[in-house]
Symmetry: C2
Subunit: 200 residues, 2 copies
Amino acid sequence: MSTPSSLESLIEALRCLPGIGPKSAQRMAYHLLQRDRKGAQRLADALQHALAAIRHCERCNTLTEAEICERCTSPKRDATLLCVVETPVDMNMMEQTHAYSGLYYVIMGRVSPLDGIGPRELQLERLLARACDGVVQEVILATNYTNEGEATAHYLSEMLKSRDIHVTRIARGVPVGGELEYVDAGTLAQAVRERRSLAE
Amino acid sequence: MSTPSSLESLIEALRCLPGIGPKSAQRMAYHLLQRDRKGAQRLADALQHALAAIRHCERCNTLTEAEICERCTSPKRDATLLCVVETPVDMNMMEQTHAYSGLYYVIMGRVSPLDGIGPRELQLERLLARACDGVVQEVILATNYTNEGEATAHYLSEMLKSRDIHVTRIARGVPVGGELEYVDAGTLAQAVRERRSLAE
């Protein structure tokens, strides 16, 4: 073998990145060492720094550098509303809508029995404790409308209802600007089933 | 903004990897911090270690941890043959054929005027010095049969011929196991033009 062992270790280490197989990892390693040693150094430093600095917010569980994140400490947010999302990216999407000004809880995942991820792995009792702080009046479930997101929402709603917490789920239906002709049948079927009265 | 700055720096740093855009970099950063902190630490260490340990072989220019790589110091290799390849991966491909037992020179790139990479950037004078050591009797050009690989081979052959060094180029033609019906016309045209006499 002529591949230096530290190069092999780097190729192996790059495979921890999601979606990167052996061929891509090899290409990345050679690229970094041949063409972008500065970038490689920056990446090593950024990883080190992020690992040291980033932790979970004690209230909403998102990634943050503070004990409690900026959003959770903001006096401008409506603390009676708690929106549950799967990931920090989903939280950012919600924020971009400007349609919500309450607080969040980030599960950091979803119930997924096939991957061995159940309620215990997700530490959902922390969410329960958060929702039962006496201030929260409504928990809005904004997990994905995938099978796993739905299973998570179902589990959470059962868990929260047993504590007499008002639980809602974000609506599903035809997307804004969507034409019926191009919407899939499943979405359309749900949109019919969950039709709302215009009198409300 | 609620994204911690060290997270933003990590996302930015991940974009130095080839083929990774902003969305993938974000997904990777969240994956590492949420699900694989050990992997992230291993990657940081592997980068650091590879940057410190890996350099270019003084004889063949490949990536190595020694001053002169294992292959260049091996007494089993035929030092009268020097095969020029674009990258260490190409060198590994050549080795896997078991059809070559000479030495190598790795250009670490190719002439590519559009990317501003000319003979000077590739330090091709180092290859010339290597080929003129008095032991090498034949230089085999094994750059790719792409436009850039061809341009590189052309430049090298002119450079080496002016020093009276015997230069050859790996053959091109119909692949082994290839059927004429499925070979592209360009390859077939070359295979006809470069037909060899069976008397030889």
